[in-house]
């Protein structure tokens, strides 16, 4: 016992503080970094921190999916876009923001939403450092079962969203027959100082 709490609680507390700090640091780095490529890497730190938070909450499946989808796929996608664009236009893309008011409004809205969510949820009272018996160990089967029975419709709707974005990307990237590839970007690249 130390300060009236069992020792195990301090480990969890320290782990939480470090992971949460990493997440905040990553988020801050993402918006503070001037060049886009380092900003992507800061985003990676932030998303990895969130995965750590999931792991602390015993959501191991969620942690693995977070790494797979966000850290693995989304960040790589952004890095791809930056790499191809930057070498194509020949200039370093800076993170500029001309939408200060809109950004503040959006961030404020999201923060309010999250705060309302946090303070209106009725939590099951648990001892600090405890995990509910139902979540301990292998909960993958449970989640999979729920996804394919009770939550099948939302699951399928989400996949339709993905399909729509895929088709949208194809439409954007498609070239009309006879169109000169890269013609759209060329004048823009020359006009840069």
């Amino acid at each position: 016992m130390l300060f009236g709490l069992p020792y195990t609680n301090y480990v969890e507390y320290l782990a939480f503080l470090s992971v949460a700090g990493l997440t905040l640091l990553g988020g801050l780095g993402t918006i503070v970094a001037r060049r886009v490529f380092p900003a992507c890497l800061w985003l990676l730190v932030c998303l990895g921190g969130v995965a750590g938070l999931y792991a602390l909450l015993a959501g191991h499946l969620l942690m693995a999916v977070q790494i797979l989808v966000y850290a693995g796929a989304i960040t790589v996608l952004i890095i791809f876009a930056v790499m191809l664009l930057q070498r194509h236009t020949g200039r370093i893309i800076m993170a500029e923001n001309q939408h200060l008011i809109g950004g503040v409004l959006a961030a404020g809205f999201m923060a309010t939403l999250i705060l309302v969510g946090i303070f209106t949820t009725r939590y099951q009272p648990l001892a600090f450092g405890d995990t509910p018996a139902t979540f301990a160990g292998d909960n993958v089967k449970l989640i999979g079962h729920l996804l394919l029975t009770k939550y099948l419709l939302p699951f399928e709707v989400v996949s339709v969203v993905l399909l729509a974005s895929m088709i949208g990307a194809l439409v954007l990237a498609r070239q009309e027959p006879g169109e000169n590839p890269g013609a759209a970007e060329a004048p823009e690249a020359e006009s840069q100082p």
Binding site: L41, V65, I67, L68, V76, I79, D138, V140, K141
Partner: protein
């Protein structure tokens, strides 16, 4: 005696020792828990280093044998000290960062590559007791391994980008495209094994194959296609010949690590050999019964499971080396064509066959 039992004995001994010094049992349990994590993390890195030491020598000898040469003979008996000499040479080299390179990105590229490689070792079930932390992989080992594996290319991209060199960037882009493409057939092959074992845990997949060699996945006919797919995409994921276009020496001047010397170059190579061992380990776990003995469970020879696992992995590593020194490098378009036109459709066929097998109740 399994590795896990040895760990428990050491833990109990340490608790007794600390209790003798007047440390409360609860605190000493906690300290030992933290120590276990630290040792586990260190073991992941040590595994990579040992793999690199052994595989560098093995690669030279195997390539020598295949090309009718002797390979290293001068350093120590039959050249066995060659790897150590290589390490010392790399450590003594000057660390050069190109003037136009991004100094920070140039440095964190190889570190990131190695860190990601080490992270995947966390879920490898070495023995019956489980992974390096002495615990099971929380039921998501396969997913975690795939997730971390997909992050490996970030290290390559950061290194290639940070070098600010056309060859490096081309190599990085090629590497990223290749790793993204070959991840799909690899995951499809993984899915078949997951469906067979009905678990996402790597330890659980080994449990599912419990028994002698007849019970292992590679002898089930519907697993033959996933075995081939996993081996090919595994070799492609770790950028080895015939899939080494990201570092093609003859066309890209070593690709993403053109601008690296000394220790940073060594970090890239450590990670590459670490990844080689990792793919071999995962292959052994998925299809060759992991730590299980071929003569049945429990092992009649009473050998620790880790020895069987390493023996199987060594076999896979030798096959991968044999392929490397036999086949020429693929062209970029051939490489992409192989992934998208042949292996991904084959992966879906394998998944369909697996589902049919489950529906028919043969699994």
């Amino acid at each position: 005696m399994s590795i896990h039992t040895i760990g428990v004995i050491i833990k109990d001994w340490l608790i007794g020792l600390l209790a003798g010094w007047g440390v409360p049992v609860e605190l000493s349990r906690l300290l030992i828990e933290v120590l276990t994590w630290a040792v586990g993390a260190a073991l992941c890195i040590i595994a990579i280093m040992l793999a690199a030491l052994v595989f560098i020598y093995l690669e030279r000898k195997v390539s020598g044998y295949i090309q009718s040469r002797l390979g290293p003979t001068r350093c120590g008996p039959v050249g066995i000290l060659q790897s150590f000499v290589d390490v010392i040479k790399l450590l003594l080299k000057e660390d050069i960062v190109p003037a136009e390179a991004d100094r920070v990105l140039h440095t964190i590229g190889p570190i990131l590559f190695l860190a990601v490689s080490a992270l995947a070792y966390v879920v490898v079930p070495w023995d019956e007791g489980g992974t390096v932390a002495g615990k099971v992989d929380a039921g998501v080992g396969v997913l975690f391994m795939a997730a971390v594996g997909s992050m490996g290319l970030i290290g390559i991209v950061v290194g290639g980008w940070g070098s600010n060199n056309k060859w490096s960037l081309l190599g990085a882009i090629r590497g990223a495209a290749q790793m993204v493409s070959y991840e799909i057939p690899m995951l499809l092959a993984l899915m078949c094994v997951v469906l067979q074992a009905e678990t996402l845990s790597l330890a659980g997949i080994v449990e599912d194959q419990k028994g002698s060699i007849i019970a292992w996945n590679f002898l089930r006919p519907w697993m033959w296609l996933p075995v081939v797919l996993f081996l090919i995409s595994g070799v492609a994921e770790i950028n080895r010949t015939p899939f080494d276009i990201p570092e093609a020496e003859s066309e890209l001047v070593s690709g993403f690590h053109t601008e690296y010397t000394g220790m940073k170059f060594a970090l890239f190579f450590l990670a590459e050999y670490g990844n080689l061992l990792l793919v071999a380990l995962i292959f052994s776990v998925l299809f060759l019964g992991g730590w299980l003995s071929p003569f049945g469970y429990p092992d009649p020879l009473r050998l620790p499971g880790i020895i069987w696992l390493l023996a199987k992995s060594l076999l896979i590593v030798l096959i991968v080396m044999w392929v490397r020194w036999t086949l020429p490098r693929l062209r970029v378009d051939q490489l992409m064509g192989l992934a998208w036109k042949l292996m991904i459709p084959a992966g879906f066929v394998a998944l369909g066959v697996m589902c049919a097998v489950i529906m028919l109740g043969w699994a």
